[in-house]
């Protein structure tokens, strides 16, 4: 039996410009060339006040998702899970409308609120929520109660095969590995032929290899079924690995949407958490943008030091902040040549302080920079204060953030 038996055979995707429902500030154009309000799309416009008074913001979003993977990106606690719960019907929005494939799940205006079991939404929870007392097979068959035994067996067989877990069918969730549990949770949600798939950080806990195999299987499934998939993550790597389109959620609002490259290359809002990892933070002025090469030239404020940085959406002349980790900077005692790194900056060693097994060097190169070295490197190079040195910084070690 083919997995795509009840699928959207013959669905058309009329081409045209996309008009994503939008209320956010920066809007990025959609260049996929598909229409957004197709009959198989998911359209969400909702407002929901958080029950938790500590969250002093409301969820207030509006977007459409076409068949395919739509990434929902944002840090923890911005309302990503609440949004998925609203679509699944586990949480009732205060106002708005949720429509999937021309079926209205929720509308406060028309007083519609379809019960959770009738929505046919596939939901893979962050903690997976596999039934611990049921075997893998029983877990997968849980959503197939309405089918007769033969059809149920057929479907189970197919999904077990396509997620490569037939050998686990009689095991309990506690007896299989984390990656296997993720596969079972995905299979359990997909076997019911959902009209929309909600994935709440489903692969967060997995290693990269397992992750990419599961993503491959998920893509293969979706090539046949073509449903909108909302994929929640707070990992930038996953955004680039998966995304056809990205929604960026912050404090309950959509602040950007577009392709991963468009959205993720925007300078990030500087927050305490993002600053925590950077020993070197400078205000910089954008001198030139090289769109063709994907880089920019920036000058560190109050100095003549120029840096080549990754390209972000910022005007020439505007002020940004750049963060460079002390461990990302190389140190040389002679001027290096023939390097791939684009930034080679001359400077003078001010101080060397040993902190446990790390040597913290401070270097004056127009601005003061902190560089972390190993003890062996210090000894091999014979480093001492007053010594002339060159700093080497790769373009992509310069992390740009929006200026304050």
């Amino acid at each position: 039996m083919d997995l795509s038996h009840t699928d959207s055979v013959g669905r058309t995707h009329p081409s045209g410009t996309t008009q994503l429902l939008n209320q956010g500030e920066p809007t990025l154009s959609d260049n996929t060339g598909r229409a957004s309000v197709a009959s198989d799309a998911l359209t969400v416009t909702i407002r929901k006040q958080f029950a938790n008074p500590q969250a002093n913001f409301d969820l207030d979003v509006s977007f459409s998702a076409l068949p395919g993977i739509m990434i929902l990106f944002g840090p923890s606690g911005v309302g990503k899970t609440t949004l998925l719960d609203c679509i699944a019907g586990l949480t009732i929005p205060d106002a708005g409308e949720i429509v999937v494939e021309s079926r209205t799940f929720f509308s406060d205006q028309h007083r519609i609120n379809i019960a959770v079991p009738q929505r046919r939404v596939g939901y893979v929870f962050q903690d997976l929520a596999l039934f611990p007392h049921l075997s893998v097979e029983q877990n997968i068959q849980y959503g197939l109660a309405r089918l007769n035994a033969t059809r149920r067996q057929e479907r189970t067989h197919v999904i077990l095969e396509s997620f490569r877990i037939p050998h686990l069918r009689n095991r309990k969730p506690a007896e299989i590995s984390g990656g296997e549990r993720q596969r079972v949770a995905l299979a359990r949600a997909l076997v019911t032929d959902p009209c929309v798939l909600l994935l709440d950080e489903p692969l967060a806990a997995l290693d990269a290899a397992t992750k990419s195999k599961i993503i491959h299987d998920l893509r293969a499934w979706n090539d046949q079924h073509r449903v909108p998939i909302l994929y929640v993550t707070h990992s930038r790597e996953e955004v680039f690995a998966l995304g056809e389109r990205v929604l960026v959620l912050e404090s309950g609002k959509l602040i950007a949407q577009g392709t991963p490259h468009e959205v993720m290359s925007a300078p990030r809002q500087e927050t305490v958490a993002q600053l925590a990892g950077f020993e070197n933070i400078f205000d910089v002025t954008v001198i030139a943008a090289h769109a063709d090469r994907g880089t920019m030239t920036c000058r560190i404020a109050g100095s003549n030091v120029e840096l080549e940085t990754p390209l972000v959406r910022a005007d020439v002349g505007s002020t940004l902040r750049v963060g460079i980790r002390a461990g990302d900077i190389l140190l040389a005692t002679v001027q290096p040549i023939g390097l791939s790194a684009r930034n080679v900056i001359a400077g003078k060693m001010l101080s060397l302080v040993q902190r446990d097994v790390v040597v913290v060097a401070r270097i004056d190169c127009g601005v003061e920079m902190e560089v972390h070295l190993t003890l062996a490197a210090r000894d091999a190079l014979g480093l001492q204060p007053g010594r002339e040195v060159w700093l080497v910084v790769k373009t992509h070690s310069c992390h740009l953030m929006a200026g304050s």
Binding site: A88, P117, G122, F125, F131, H133, Y142, A145
Partner: protein, 223 residues
């Protein structure tokens, strides 16, 4: 050893436990999941027999079963005799008396089931009833056994309510604890001791079972 009293107690306890299992499940479900703001009042009423002196409870049950109450009159019209001082009357009194010992462990184990599992069940198309029987109930087995064992043991040993509602009619309302009391009144300490030991053993076995089952992982080997 008064075997007639012993079997009467067993019969009473088994019947009361069976009824509490059936009636206690919906009550416990409601307590575990209702969001009614006055729910705590109902919880307090159900828990009342834990703190109320059995004589007080027995007194009110006796009044409620008597021929002056609507329930007593209705029963009399149907069966031709009153509820007070009958085995049926004893059953009704015991159900009320042991209610919290069944409902509270049931409700606690229902409430302990991860809400995300219930959400998963619903998104997979399951009705509330199916979720209850396929997820909540199987995951609450230790709580169910605790409730069953506690209400059985508690009914086995009850004294005050039985004395008030049932009196001391051999083969009808004379339970083991009444038997012990009678024997002591008659200075038959040896006989009282024998019966008391049996009750002690039953109670100890019941509690051992409850605590053993609630040890982590122990039950998982069976279910």
């Amino acid at each position: 050893m008064d075997w007639q009293a012993f079997w009467l107690s067993i019969r009473l306890a088994a019947l009361v436990t069976a009824i509490l299992l059936i009636a206690g499940l919906p009550a416990a479900y409601w307590i575990a999941y209702s969001r009614w703001r006055w729910k705590f009042l109902a919880e307090a009423v159900i828990a009342l027999p834990i703190v109320l002196p059995p004589t007080v409870l027995g007194f009110y049950v006796l009044v409620a079963l008597g021929s002056r109450s609507p329930l007593g009159r209705w029963w009399q019209a149907i069966t031709g005799h009153t509820l007070a001082f009958t085995f049926e009357g004893l059953v009704i009194g015991s159900i009320i008396y042991s209610l919290p010992f069944a409902v509270q462990p049931f409700a606690a184990s229902f409430a302990a089931v991860d809400a995300r599992l219930l959400a998963a069940s619903a998104t997979l198309g399951a009705s509330r009833a199916r979720t209850f029987f396929r997820v909540i109930l199987p995951m609450s087995v230790p709580g169910l056994i605790t409730g069953i064992v506690l209400s059985f043991a508690h009914t086995m040993g009850e004294f005050g309510v039985v004395l008030m509602v049932g009196g001391n009619i051999p083969g009808v309302t004379r339970t083991v604890s009444i038997d012990i009391y009678d024997k002591v009144q008659a200075f038959d300490y040896a006989g009282a001791n024998q019966t008391a030991l049996v009750l002690l053993a039953i109670s100890f076995a019941a509690l051992t079972l409850v605590y053993g089952l609630n040890r982590r992982g122990w039950l998982n080997k069976w279910i």
